[in-house]
Amino acid sequence: MNPESNKGIDTQEGDAMVQRYILSKKNQITLINGVLIILAFISKIGFENIVVFNGALIIASLLGVAPIAIQAYQALKVKVVSIDVLVTIAVLGAFLINNYEESAIVTFLFLFGAYLEQRTLNQTRSAIKELTEMAPESALKQKENGEFAEVEVDEVDIGDILLVKTGAKVPVDGTVLTGEGHVNEASITGESVPVSKKKGSQVYAGTILENGTIQIVADRVGEDTTFGKIIELVEEAQDSKSEAERFIDRFSKYYTPAVLVFATLVWLVSQDIELAITILVLGCPGALVIGVPVSNVAGIGNGARNGVLLKGSEVIQSFSKVDVIAFDKTGTLTVGNPKVADTKIYTTNVDEVLGYLASMESESDHPLAKAVVEYIGDTKLSTVENTDVVKGGGIVAYVDGHRVAVGNVALIEKENVHLDEKARADIAGFEQKGNSLVLTAVDGELKVLMGIRDQIRPGVKENLQKLKALGVKRLIILSGDNQGTVDLVARELGLNEAYGNMLPEDKSAFVAELQAKGKIVAFVGDGVNDSPSLALADIGIAMGGGTDVALETSDIVLMNSDFSRLPHALGLTKATALNMLQNIVIAVGVVLVLLASVFLSEWMNMSIGMLAHEASILVVILNGMRLLGYKLR
């Protein structure tokens, strides 16, 4: 390189190096700065030595202002009037009027405050950091020669074959090719009971192979994996901003230059440099900008630790004010795994009829059909011919030459099967108990009546009580099931209202109607068939076992479909919203009190102002940090 022609660039780079060096030694500078100030006061008070006093303070001021001035210069270069600019001017001003005491103390407080902020901020972010650190970093990838070599996880492509050993993290989403083992999927589902995996099983990035060795083929990599999506969601959420925050941001952009202009005007009018520079320091917006993001990150971090994914600060605001929570029934309030609870047989030829029934139902994917097959168990299966699926009714087919109809009352009546009084009484009785009905008719005669019920999730009742105690006015159940079943569940759980026979579009219309009346509505569903309502509601809450749909369409995801996390989510959003408000009040309050007292009181000066500012910043951070430990009582 020719030193002559590159001289300009060299000095520029040299300057940048010096600047970076000084900034990197900020902590040491702060320490020396503090020690010098203490020395100065010892020599003044102990030895009445004013020369040493001033000397130490001058050195402390110059040393302390250096990193602040560099930051100010860098800010001005990109046309930003930052806090550093205000403080630098104030310190120079104090220096000009020979007030070395103020200039030294202000630089120290500013630097020490920044140090404490960084330390405490890391704390508030720790919960989310724990989550992102669970991301896999390396993988054992099969090379062309068939051997496995360790590579960075970024280098894995779809279709690559990977080896996962005991104790290792599954690096990507994939399918097991060979081997067997148990995987802890807590990072995806929140459930820490190991899941068994064998050839053909799906495995997920970020989960841990607790025993065994498996080879997998990569299906989805990087940010496309379920874990990658969860991380991205949480990372976006912690920095997402509500309307109010965006306003604060816009406001603070003009606020600092305004303080600078105001201080200049005061100086021009009063010719009082002391007053002008005091205003510069007091006007720093410190806690205002930092207060809300701190509450946000701590609240979302608490959620992430407790199996509640909150998609940002707007969601926190609206859920904290929720009026109505509407629930889907199947899979949300109930386990979603219906079982045969009651049966009535109207024939002596039991085995044959149950055999026909099982033969037909085993061809269906319907949840009720699965319950029937499970209930009947092992039996002789016959060939089913001419199957006719009647939508919303059931199935009609021929088995061993007999015409068999399996379905609800409407289907059986359509088949012209006579239902005598006893059968009708049984049907009514079954319905009252909250059963869904499956009737079986062979050659036009009713043979079997089955009542199928879903189990209510354990603990749902107590959790609903907690929601009420937290101030939710109406709890509503919206279900596609018959009204009798829905009413029964509502009564058992103590819900306010119950609506049955609802199609997905009826549910979303119901949500829209409530919203039109000015209610803030949350909808809780399983995230698969209720996506329209989840998307439309002010807050869509998905019972997600880590499914993509649940992550994408909803605002809040309850990991591992754990209903008990719902009250925690509500309590947490209320606590977080309140915390944000407290922080705004603290921040604005401190600035107002300081600015008022500079005109109204005798004792206010730059150092006290800076102390109050830095203290208020620490107070809002510590206040936000409380959210990390939030627990529902």
């Binding site: 046309k79 930052s82 806090i83 912690q238 946000n296």
Partner: protein
């Protein structure tokens, strides 16, 4: 257009966001609308035109402000 995610050292002062935002936006070839400085996760996300600028230039603009770039990821949009 390429999409870049730049991981920075922990950001602690809110005014750094505004500084980084302005510095990156002022670069030729950076899509101004796409620039997002994430305070809590200490990341910068942006789209840029690879014909007009390079990821190194963007990184330099940030390090010149005194913030260390830990790692950056560039992907086709």
């Amino acid at each position: 257009m390429l999409k870049a995610t730049i991981q920075l050292e922990t950001l602690s002062c809110p005014s750094c966001m505004q500084k980084i935002d302005n510095a990156v936006k002022s670069l030729e070839g950076v899509d101004k609308e796409s620039v997002k400085v994430l305070f809590n996760s200490s990341k910068v996300k942006l789209n840029f035109d690879e014909q007009k600028t390079a990821i190194e230039k963007i990184e330099n603009a940030i390090t010149a402000l005194g913030y260390e770039v830990i790692k950056s990821q560039v992907k086709a949009e």
